[in-house]
């Protein structure tokens, strides 16, 4: 443990909080249709988009039409991305002449990018043309992130409005989240990253002779533009196979710090947006603080495990940090552990170290955070709506304990909401466990394992957890580009996304109709420390009960083996 490590971690948390507050306030104005200082810039473009697509920005819809529009838009995105990959050979901007992507891989990749997962069973620099990377993958990076944002905005409206019937207009929310939030942040982010060394060009790969006479070919491409939205949208799909470990994606400690900030910036801002939109900033603050405390616990755990390192390596007469396999010198232990925690707190999945080579417990923390449903800040939009599901569950359990009808924000929580919340928690959990079980007992599943023993189980468990939680990072030793994994994980990805979004919108639809009930002496306050602690407890207990047996057989056994030798 070193002082500089702690300083970097704390500095990150402070700067993140400092930036999240104003951004949260700004987004509340954007989604309430209030004036913002950026209106003169984006308003003309917005009007043009509505004219081109025949959108009436004054009409709002109920939750069913809202969900319908969302599903149709995502389906269109899926179809276009699927066929772009199959046809890339015949399309422009393919200087390396890559051929058609196989149908099972194209299915997996389309499902993965449409849902904000960005699981990648391919290596970017040897598979995808510049056109697919830009017009296919980058586009989905924007619109899948926007999809997450609009769902949480719709849920917020459902909770904030009293005796109403509509939760917003999907097309308007989508357009505004891209024009007012994602696009401007990405343009600035991409340029700052380029200044530090991230590449941005359309050149063919560069062949050169190295200093001592060897040959090397440098992969090129429009990387910075994809890198920025990959982070801001918590997408995580790397331009290159090595993702943010690659020096052309993440060249310096500064880009690393910025990329970590980009990942959690919008997710950390959204609780503040929520607080303002429901008319009580304290309601947002308590959620933010709960997330922050859980985050610090997980960072601490991951960092401790990586610093403790691998005693088997030290025993071979090796000095310095022993867990350097799969890490980059410029990031070292602290920044690798911090990045791994951030990327799995969010549904990002970008990596700056190879998670498969993390220490057993250092690799378990990312897995555990994904199993919690990525509610510690979480994906853009997805993190907060996931956390609000747990809020509803917490309020319900407290209501049971004191024998009162549960209420949240002055509205009764009834059986419809609890049913939907239960579905949203069960679908990903069942997907992860059944998927992992299936892969662990079939030849098609186990033949892809790289590391045998308990670590092999961890590889499978990580894959299905990452898919079910829409994260996208991997224990990449597992060979996932097989028809079995492409299809099984593709299905897990779709279930993990829409199996939550639909119940969440259903809750929005149920809540928006309700009358406000006046606050009484028995009303449970959802703004204090007690509530925050209960919420954190429920999050941990629900997930621990579901996943502890699986974790015990994978990372925990491996840890015992590692220190036992």
């Amino acid at each position: 443990m070193s002082t500089m490590d702690i300083v970097q971690i704390l500095l990150y948390v402070v700067i993140l909080t400092f930036l999240a507050v104003p951004l949260g306030r700004y987004m509340a104005r954007v989604f309430s249709g209030e004036k913002t200082w950026t209106d003169p810039l984006f308003r003309p473009l917005e009007r043009l988009i509505y004219r081109l697509t025949g959108t009436d920005e004054q009409t709002e819809t109920g939750w069913k039409q809202y969900a319908g529009a969302l599903l149709i838009f995502n389906f269109c995105g899926f179809i276009v991305l699927f066929f772009l990959q199959l046809l890339q050979k015949y399309l422009p901007l393919n200087p390396q002449g890559f051929g058609a992507v196989s149908p099972d891989l194209a299915f997996n990749t389309a499902a993965s990018f449409v849902t904000n997962t960005n699981w990648q069973a391919y290596a970017g620099e040897s598979t995808m043309s510049y056109l697919v990377q830009m017009a296919g993958l980058t586009v989905q990076n924007f619109v899948s992130a926007a999809t997450g944002i609009v769902v949480v905005v719709a849920l917020t409206r459902g909770l904030a409005r009293k005796s109403a019937s509509t939760i917003g207009n999907f097309w308007v929310d989508l357009t505004r989240s891209i024009l007012w939030v994602l696009l401007p942040l990405s343009i600035i982010g991409a340029l700052v990253l380029t200044q530090q060394g991230v590449i941005q060009n359309f050149s063919t790969y560069l062949h050169l002779t190295t200093l001592d006479g060897g040959k090397q070919t440098l992969a090129m491409g429009p990387v910075a533009s994809q890198e920025a939205i990959k982070m801001f949208g918590t997408n995580g799909g790397g331009f290159f196979n090595a993702n943010s470990t690659h020096p052309f994606e993440n060249p310096t400690p500064i880009t690393n710090f910025l990329e970590m900030l980009f990942i959690l910036l919008i997710p950390a801002a959204l609780p503040f947006t929520f607080g303002r939109m429901v008319g009580n900033p304290k309601q947002g603050r308590v959620i933010f603080v709960t997330m922050l405390i859980l985050f610090l616990i997980f960072v601490g755990a991951a960092y401790s495990s990586e610093i403790y390192g691998n005693p088997n390596v030290t025993a071979l007469g090796i000095s310095g940090p022993s867990a350097m396999e799969g890490k980059e010198v410029r990031f070292g232990i602290a920044n690798s552990a911090l990045f791994a925690t951030i990327t799995t707190a969010a549904s990002c999945g970008a990596v700056n170290a190879m998670h498969d080579s993390l220490t057993p417990l250092g690799g378990m923390i990312p897995m555990l955070q994904m199993m919690l449903g990525e509610v510690v800040f979480g994906g853009v939009g997805a993190g907060l709506y996931g956390m609000l599901i747990f809020v509803i569950l917490t309020v319900f359990i407290v209501g049971l304990m004191v024998g009162r009808t549960p209420e949240y924000l002055g509205k009764k929580i009834e059986s419809w909401e609890i049913k939907m919340a239960t579905i949203a928690i069960l679908v990903p959990a069942v997907t992860i466990l059944i998927g992992s079980a299936l892969a662990s007992v079939t030849k098609a599943g186990t033949s892809s394992i790289l590391n045998s023993g308990p670590h092999g189980l961890s590889e499978i468990l990580y894959a299905f957890t990452s898919a079910g939680a829409n994260n996208g990072s991997a224990f990449a030793g597992l060979n996932a580009n097989t028809p079995f994994y492409n299809i099984a994980l593709g299905i897990a990805i779709l279930l993990g996304r829409f199996g939550i979004i639909l119940p969440v919108l259903a809750i929005a639809g149920g809540m928006v109709k309700k009358k406000a009930v006046p606050e009484g002496p028995g009303t449970f306050q959802t703004t204090g420390i007690l509530f925050g602690a209960l919420l954190a407890g429920i999050v941990i207990i629900v997930s621990a009960l579901t996943f502890f047996p699986a974790l015990a057989l994978g990372p925990i056994v491996e840890h015992l083996i590692m220190i036992g030798k």
Binding site: Q8, G54, L208, L211, P222, N310, E325, G326, S357, S452
Partner: protein
């Protein structure tokens, strides 16, 4: 229903033009205008010839050069079209064997005793397989070999390593490191 699909595709088309074509082109234009060196790969030159990128590690088979970290990118390592790590887990026997093997090779090459500690970055594969850096300790342990093979005073080489050590960025971020390509380029100017 059909109307909704038409609208879905229309919106998608707008987004493709806006975020998939206009956005990357605008960023490329600005990047090439303001940061052409970085946007094109931060290339490194020797006598006007491109010899690599300052950001991407490369193989050095000649022991007269400082050696980089082991690389799992491609068959021979440092293949910049096949980035990636070994993905070997911490208890994998093959992993531990190769660490032991690499440590012994480094001890032999640098004339170290069999129980002398070797810095971990020199015996572990990086995440990208293209790590351009080694730690200052990883460079120092190679100094006496370089000095001997190049007929230079050890002190000169040591000073060069110190000169080429990049500190934490802004004094805070990341770890101190030595860019191997930069160090070896400077080494060549030293001996001509």
């Amino acid at each position: 229903m059909l109307k909704q699909f038409t609208k879905g595709f229309a919106m998608l088309l707008v987004m493709i033009v806006l975020t998939g074509i206009a956005y990357p082109l605008v960023v490329t234009g600005l990047a090439q205008l303001f940061f052409p060196h970085q946007a094109n790969g931060s290339l490194a030159y020797k006598n006007g010839q491109v010899v690599g990128s300052q950001l991407i590690g490369q193989n050095f088979t000649d022991l007269k050069y400082f050696q980089p970290r082991p690389s799992a990118a491609g068959k021979d390592g440092y293949d910049a079209t096949a980035s990636g790590g070994s993905n070997l887990g911490p208890t994998n026997k093959d992993f531990l064997n190769s660490v032991a093997e690499r440590a012994n090779t480094i001890r032999q090459q640098n004339g170290l005793s069999s129980n002398q500690a070797v810095p971990s970055d020199l015996v572990t594969a990086s995440a990208s397989g293209l790590d351009p850096d080694i730690t200052p300790e990883g460079a120092m342990i190679q100094v006496s070999r370089i000095a001997k093979l190049r007929n230079l005073p050890a002190e000169t080489v040591e000073n060069l390593v110190r000169h080429d050590t990049t500190p934490r960025q802004l004094g805070i971020f990341g770890e101190p490191r030595v860019n191997v390509l930069r160090l070896n380029l400077d080494l060549d100017t030293l001996t001509k």
